[in-house]
């Protein structure tokens, strides 16, 4: 006997107007559609204000900007002549950046340094700033989800104002239902939530989302309910984005942000691969890393960030150490908000790394290994002597055959490179847990 099952086609989420535009209009106190030129003029006004404010209220910028004249700043080029702020400046004396009383600070985020020496970076937020972030999450998520949708977030939410909690609040205020797995390294827990709630949208790091898909497939998953995915926290390769889109038949959005920018920074709309900037909260410059001067759109350079509205700990011309570019092709959504390319990479490589190091990134390796059925996640480290790339692979089952397959794929990947390393593959977990965590991933050198 034939069973006829009527399938309802997945409703793809497409917004005709970019929801981030509405937020920008509100921030700029206008109801009319805004142009790029208007945004630029508005930003220049804000930039002058924040420079004066920071110099008057904080000891770091009082020193840093001593004797400078802000009123003559008439263009992006003029602004880019101001001196830059570095991560080292914040590490050295975070309190010198504080421009309000410590009583106004609602949350402090402490970022472990990537190097082994030095103090961790501490970033202060006031309640207003946390509210702004929630508003951005609300509007940003409107690019992906509708009221009534369920969103599975694979993000830490251990404390009241951590990123997972802020996202959950942003989602609730737009009428969506957040489901959180606070320990996304536990992939079977993610899959259990996925099966129970059939989410319309999944938010997480590229590695955690990938591991969830791999386990879902391994355990027989078919016809996913997911219509959109938001990849955040970390860089993603095209291969990983394509894989997610194909396996879940969904649209993949990317988000860029860092704690320094108040967690939210830019997010891609339903049409585009570029990420629309949160122009009314942060001002992004693509700069020549040597001179600090702003580059024309389309050219790659260091991302330098200025907070436009922050009162507690404004950052002005903060060097992120990341490289990207402003995309110049038209976006079908017609938003005036500039777009940052998702192709974001660290600029400076650790000393003593070989030439090929800039090509091989954790997410690139993930992209190649999507072809291996049991693959869930991997961590790589580079051993200088002998020239070896050591990759520890977490799999959904213990299989030496598939480990060999991993090795072959990685050998193929590196062999076109100059001074290609040998590949050593080590078995990692096979208990459906992975060891990724939330630090930005990189290949460590030992």
């Amino acid at each position: 006997m034939l069973n006829l099952i009527e399938e309802s086609p997945k409703q793809q989420h497409v917004n005709r107007i970019n929801p981030l535009d509405a937020q920008a209009q509100q921030d700029m106190r206008t109801e009319a559609p805004i142009s790029q030129a208007q945004i630029e003029a508005w930003q220049l006004g804000k930039l002058k204000n924040v420079c004066s404010y920071a110099r008057e209220n904080g000891t770091f910028y009082a020193e840093h900007f001593r004797g400078l004249d802000f009123q003559h700043i008439a263009s992006r080029e003029d602004f880019s002549k101001l001196p830059r702020t570095t991560a080292a400046d914040i590490r050295e004396a975070p309190l010198k950046f504080l421009c309000t009383s410590q009583d106004d600070i609602a949350r402090i985020v402490t970022l472990a340094t990537s190097g082994s020496t030095g103090n961790p970076k501490r970033i202060f937020f006031t309640q207003d700033e946390l509210d702004e972030t929630i508003a951005f999450y609300n509007n940003g998520m409107r690019c992906l989800v509708d009221a009534g949708d369920t969103v599975l977030a694979l993000l830490p939410a251990p404390k009241p104002d951590s990123v997972g909690t802020l996202l959950a609040e942003g989602l609730r205020s737009l009428g969506a239902k957040p489901v959180l797995n606070q320990d996304p390294d536990n992939v079977s827990a993610s899959l259990a939530l996925f099966s129970k709630h059939a989410p319309d949208c999944v938010v997480g790091t590229p590695a955690h989302v990938l591991a969830l898909i791999k386990l879902w497939k391994h355990e027989g998953g078919m016809d996913s309910p997911v219509k959109s995915v938001l990849l955040c926290w970390d860089a993603s390769s095209r291969a990983v984005r394509n894989y997610i889109e194909k396996e879940w038949n969904c649209h993949v959005h990317t988000h860029w942000g860092m704690t320094e920018t108040g967690l939210g920074g830019a997010v891609s709309c339903a049409h585009s691969k570029g990420m629309h900037l949160r122009e009314t909260n942060i001002y992004v410059e693509i700069t020549n890393p040597e001179t600090g001067l702003v580059l024309p759109d389309g050219e790659r350079g260091e991302i330098v960030v200025t907070t436009l509205t922050r009162k507690g700990m404004p950052l002005i011309r903060y060097r992120t150490g990341d490289e990207s570019h402003i995309m110049t092709e038209a976006c079908p959504c017609d938003s005036p908000l500039r777009r940052l390319s998702p192709n974001i990479r660290r600029m400076a490589l650790p000393e003593g790394t070989p030439d090929w190091f800039r090509f091989i990134t954790p997410t690139l390796i993930d992209g190649v290994l999507t072809a291996v059925p049991y693959f869930l996640a991997q961590q790589a480290q580079y051993r200088v002597a002998p020239n070896t790339l050591e990759v520890t692979v977490d799999m959904s089952n213990n299989s030496s055959q598939q480990l060999t397959c991993v090795k072959e794929l990685l050998c193929d990947l590196v062999s076109p490179l100059y001074n290609a390393p040998d590949i050593l593959c080590l078995p990692g977990n096979h208990n459906k847990k992975i060891s990724i965590g939330f630090a930005k991933r990189k290949i460590c050198i030992v």
Binding site: S272, D412, S415, P416
Partner: protein, 386 residues
């Protein structure tokens, strides 16, 4: 003379090859060099776009004295490399070509043909196609759908801005679809422009083809038939002759110093000038002009040839195979010449000359039988019965 540039895309991961494709050797030259030389010979300046493994490829560009530009966004896919290449085009460009380095065996004659067509027309986009339909040339309205589209597309410089503005969805092909009104499809004699080199198996195949490049492939022979509008009955005759050649070649030991591909293309093309006075010499001239001088000797001598000393030659096998076919049917040498002698029974000088020809043909048959160790007349006529 149009100023033309060739954007050669060499920024990909070579992941299915597992080796750096641009620096792999195809014969004496690297893949990149093979492709770049085809452009240079046609008067086109190559611009190489690098990305993944750029050190190695830039080094190779330096060795070859080629301009290289780096695409930092290579992970975004091939279209980002197309854009990087367009950005690097000098302002004086009239025309540009775009092709991945994975298709290294494009013939220089293809690029020249595209350039000539661009100079004569106002087309914005010209795609080379291979028309290898077997019986009759494709009518022009079928070029777009039935012709096999190869590389490289030839683009008017005015398209550069459009490419730089495009968001990349569907790649270059999708963008070029917007120009269907001003797109032309030009038949060329080139099967190499269809051949991808993605896997180690492809690479092996291309290495083999590379050694045979001076001779047209079977597909190219069909394209030549269409280019010269060869009548159907001659096509059928040529196929019958080629089948005989194929039977004989099967019996030739592998270590014989002989280009089998030359014999096959020789038999397929021996009558391309049939109907023209002295059609053998005319055919040889024709094939030389089409860019394949290596088969000209086989065509020139296919009706009249004396056996030489030494091993059996390609030309001798083409000559011999032709003698075993009358129209499209198999026959023996004797019957074929006897029929002719019967026609000219009234003029003894002609009969004598035909007699002489028969002797020459028999001498070549003898050589071929020594080389194959086979009674070819028995082989070919026995088969005919079965």
């Amino acid at each position: 003379m149009l100023r033309a540039y060739g954007i050669l895309l060499a920024a990909g991961y070579s992941s299915r090859m597992g080796r750096c494709k641009p620096t792999l050797h195809l014969g004496d030259k690297t893949t990149l060099q093979t492709l770049a030389d085809a452009f240079i010979q046609a008067g086109v300046t190559p611009i190489v776009v690098t990305g993944y493994a750029s050190e190695k490829i830039e080094q190779e560009c330096k060795r070859l004295n080629l301009q290289a530009v780096y695409n930092a966004n290579f992970d975004d896919g091939m279209f980002s490399s197309v854009q990087t290449g367009c950005n690097a085009l000098p302002d004086d460009a009239d025309i540009f070509f775009i092709t991945p380095v994975d298709i290294p065996l494009i013939r220089s004659s293809t690029i020249t043909a595209l350039l000539n067509h661009a100079a004569k027309t106002k087309a914005n986009v010209i795609h080379p196609i291979l028309d290898d339909s077997l019986l009759t040339p494709l009518p022009e309205f079928l070029h777009k759908t039935e012709g096999k589209r190869g590389h490289p597309p030839c683009l008017r410089a005015s398209l550069k801005c459009e490419i730089l503005k495009y968001n990349g969805d569907g790649g270059l092909a999708k963008l070029l679809d917007q120009y269907t009104d001003t797109t032309h499809y030009l038949p060329v004699l080139d099967s190499g422009m269809l051949l991808d080199m993605d896997t180690p198996e492809d690479y092996e195949k291309l290495c083999r083809i590379q050694t045979l490049r001076s001779v047209p492939s079977v597909q190219e022979c069909y394209a030549i038939w269409n280019a010269v509008a060869l009548p159907t009955h001659i096509r059928n005759h040529s196929l019958a002759v080629t089948e005989v050649a194929h039977r004989i070649l099967e019996k030739i030991p592998d270590n014989t110093p002989l280009f089998k591909q030359t014999v096959i293309s020789g038999t397929l093309l021996h009558d391309i000038a049939k109907g023209v006075p002295q059609h053998a010499n005319a055919g040889a001239r024709m094939i030389t002009e089409l860019g394949f001088p290596a088969v000209a000797p086989c065509i020139a001598t296919h009706s009249k040839l004396s056996a030489t000393e030494g091993a059996v030659t390609e030309a001798e096998l083409v000559f011999l195979a032709d003698k075993f076919i009358d129209g499209t049917s198999r026959c023996t040498l004797e019957r074929r010449y006897e029929e002719k002698m019967a026609c000219y029974a009234a003029s003894p000088e002609v009969v004598k000359a035909i007699q002489q020809k028969l002797l020459q043909a028999q001498a070549i048959l003898h050589k071929a039988e020594l080389a194959t160790g086979t009674d070819l007349t028995a082989l070919l006529t026995k088969e005919k019965r079965s």
